[in-house]
């Protein structure tokens, strides 16, 4: 993985020193809250309902064991013994005191981490496929490009006061695990006919109040043009994006209002003017960054497969976990392990300090020191030998980290909602917990199969409900929490925004409503191979609406 050089260290230290000075001036009353607010936001410090919240960037979701141990230490020393992994591959601490935050940033800097640009109207933490560098279906590792973008976007003098926040995601496989089409810029790393690497470029996707699927504006952009082309896109946006209305300020609205053809013309024209400038990437620089992400030298472990069969036979729960949470690796002796942060009835994405330490220890011994954070709020051990799966499973089991539900209905994405968030209009975590309990039986959820359920506690859609196969949006209506359901959303390579079923459901009704939908799916699927999403795409919303509104009406 990428390692800071002196340049990076000096840069991050300078930023920490500046923030230390700003916090001191704020506490001394020399800065007003109005003046301090944009400064703290630039360092990832929010004010939530109960306390400040610190959002720490995990660039493209990659962590070493040492970094994970540090995150655990911060949870223990400065917070309440846990952290929350988010849908942007970041981690949030919910209880830090303002006066402690400079010390936390110092601790982070000591392991080459920071909280820069995790908030504000700037280019945010660049995200990537959480299986990058490991997945069997990968064309190229997206992380070197995400790292180049991370550097280039850090304290960008031209792009730090954009109309609104700006999110870039990169994927390196045809199977899109990074949801690139719901990002401001989505980059799909691929090879052209000559075998050269480049990107398909998508622009103007996003969720929030007005969800939009991104438009592909270029089918193949050579790697050397990554920064010039991105600059052209962001410049066109900075100059022309709307600033009169916060809810219309994202690039998706500009693309929509301008038209794909015209916005592409503007971007291409700007790009022609800057294509041959200093930002054109020399191959040697790309290669140098690439070297940091060279795959670890995996030891041959062919003995794993025979032992695995026996172990699976002996332990049904282990076997279910292998089926559900282990994904094929490039190297057939290895697997990619998803560590579910969704225990049945638990809080999606939360991990205790002890769990973080355990994962760090396991990664050090069994995954070549690498950990990933997924946008689905899980952790990933990217390089685990098949021969080590049993021992890794047993270790995970010791602290509730071996739930065999990756991709199933209880692997719920949920934003913090009204239990923590100052913007939320309804709670989301308790709904996730109740749904998880309702469907917690392993046989039952395995029978239901792949089903991505996502919950947001307000219109900002941090819980990605628009791209949930089943999405739930919590709102406040007449002082009560009300939950709207949408169906058929998907954040993968065939990206769709879910359709709202109709009137919302109360907190008491919502879990039954979800069960009604799932039961109807089980009745009408052609066979077990037809997933919920495939069934929905075949039959549309009508059978589900029927079940939902006639049954609820009957029950009343």
């Amino acid at each position: 993985m990428y390692r800071y050089d002196e340049f990076d260290h000096a840069f991050v230290s300078a930023r920490v020193e500046q923030f230390k000075d700003q916090v001191e001036r704020r506490l001394a009353g020399e800065l007003t809250e109005e003046q301090f607010r944009p400064l703290r936001l630039m360092n990832g410090v929010y004010l939530q309902l109960h306390a400040y919240m610190l959002r720490v960037a995990v660039p493209y979701g990659t962590l070493s064991s040492r970094q994970m141990h540090k995150l655990a230490h911060i949870a223990r020393r400065y917070d309440r013994g846990y952290g929350h992994f988010t849908t942007r591959q970041n981690i949030q601490y919910n209880w830090p005191a303002l006066k402690d935050i400079p010390a936390v940033l110092d601790e982070l800097a000591s392991v080459e981490m920071h909280a820069l640009q995790t908030s504000g109207n700037c280019i945010r933490n660049v995200t990537a496929d959480h299986f990058a560098g490991a997945a069997a279906d990968e064309v190229g590792d997206p992380r070197p490009y995400a790292e180049i973008l991370r550097q280039w976007s850090s304290m960008h003098p031209e792009f730090s006061y954009l109309p609104r926040k700006f999110k870039i995601a990169v994927t390196g496989a045809d199977r899109d695990r990074a949801a690139i089409q719901v990002h401001d810029i989505g980059l799909h790393l691929k090879k052209n006919e000559a075998g050269e690497l480049g990107f398909a470029v998508y622009v103007g996707g996003g969720q929030g109040r007005t969800p939009m699927v991104a438009k592909k504006i270029r089918d193949f952009l050579p790697v050397e043009d990554l920064l010039t082309y991105t600059t052209a896109i962001v410049r066109v946006y900075n100059l022309n994006g709307r600033r009169d209305n916060k809810y219309k300020a994202r690039i998706k609205i500009l693309v929509h209002e301008t038209g794909t053809e015209e916005i592409t013309r503007q971007i291409e024209a700007e790009w022609q003017a800057i294509k041959e400038t200093d930002l054109k990437l020399p191959q040697q620089d790309v290669d140098a960054i690439d070297t940091y992400f060279a795959p670890p030298n995996l030891v041959q472990r062919p003995e794993g497969w025979s032992g695995l069969a026996a172990a699976r036979k002996a332990d049904h729960a282990f076997s279910a976990w292998v089926d559900q949470n282990v994904t094929p690796h490039k190297n057939p002796d290895y697997g990619v392990v998803t560590i579910s942060l969704k225990p049945i009835g638990g809080i999606p994405g939360d991990a205790t300090d002890a769990q973080m330490d355990l994962v760090a220890d396991i990664a050090e011994k069994f995954s070549y020191d690498e950990i990933r954070v997924s946008h689905e709020q899980n952790l990933v051990l990217p390089h685990v030998a098949i021969a080590d799966l049993r021992i890794v499973y047993d270790l995970l089991l010791t602290d509730g980290l071996a739930t065999a539900n990756a991709g199933l209905i209880t692997d719920i994405i949920s934003c913090p909602g009204l239990d923590y968030c100052a913007l939320a209009t309804a709670r989301s975590i308790p709904v996730a917990q109740r749904i998880s309990e309702r469907f917690g039986d392993p046989e039952r959820q395995a029978d239901i199969g792949e089903l991505k359920l996502k919950i947001s506690g307000c219109i900002n859609a941090c819980g990605h409900h628009h791209v949930g196969h089943i999405g739930i949006l919590g709102v406040e209506k007449k002082g009560e929490e009300l939950y709207q359901i949408s169906l058929g959303g998907s954040g993968d390579e065939i990206c769709t925004i879910g359709d709202i079923t109709g009137r919302g459901f109360s907190s008491e009704e919502i879990v039954d409503a979800i069960e009604t939908i799932v039961d109807r799916y089980l009745e009408i699927r052609t066979d077990k191979e037809e997933t919920f999403l495939a069934t929905y795409r075949r039959v549309g919303a009508a059978p589900f609406k029927d079940a939902l509104y006639s049954e609820v009406a009957n029950a009343a």
Partner: protein, 177 residues
């Protein structure tokens, strides 16, 4: 924090504060016989070429964030100063305009930032191509007077007032001419 009070009427550049030779007016008539005047874009574009190029006075142009700089680009050589407005610190359009004017279209005159500028933005402005600043933010004025630009030791992007360093990536720069 320094308590030095700087008059808001003064102009700041890399060398420090100096007196602003320009007066700002809505029309040429309003400016009387001032030798250097800055007019809003609309008024400036309404002048005849002869008036703009008159040798006895300098006439600069003030551009609001929502106004297009397109009409100025073909005639940059005839403009002594372009002032880009920052009515609010969070409106960043003028940074991109600075890039276009200075770096893509090679404007040789003075590029000026006018308005609500936070101290943390000054280094960004210098790097995107601004030469001078006319600031109304008291904290910023104080900090500028104390020569504290809140800058970092290295940049991850090319820009004005910085140079390349050998042995590192092509996009990186360090401060200095």
């Amino acid at each position: 924090m320094s308590d030095i009070e700087q008059p808001a009427g003064e102009l700041w550049g890399r060398e420090g504060f100096r007196e602003d030779p320009y007066v700002t007016a809505q029309t040429l008539e309003e400016a009387g016989d001032a030798p250097a005047v800055i007019l809003p874009l609309g008024a400036w574009l309404g002048l005849t070429e002869e008036t703009r190029n008159a040798s006895n006075r300098k006439i600069g142009v003030l551009v609001a964030p929502g106004e297009s700089i397109e009409p100025l680009l073909p005639i940059l050589d005839s403009i002594p100063v372009i002032a880009l407005q920052f009515p609010a610190f969070n409106d960043g359009r003028s940074y991109s305009k600075a890039e276009l004017i200075k770096n893509q279209h090679h404007f040789k005159g003075e590029l000026r930032a006018v308005g609500d500028v936070l101290i943390d933005q000054v280094a960004y402005m210098l790097r995107t191509g601004f030469d001078t600043m006319k600031v109304n933010h008291a904290v910023t004025l104080n900090r500028l007077a104390g020569h504290n630009l809140h800058d970092v030791p290295g940049y991850y992007q090319p820009g004005r007032g910085s140079h390349t360093v050998s042995g590192t990536y092509s996009w990186r720069r360090v401060p200095g001419a």
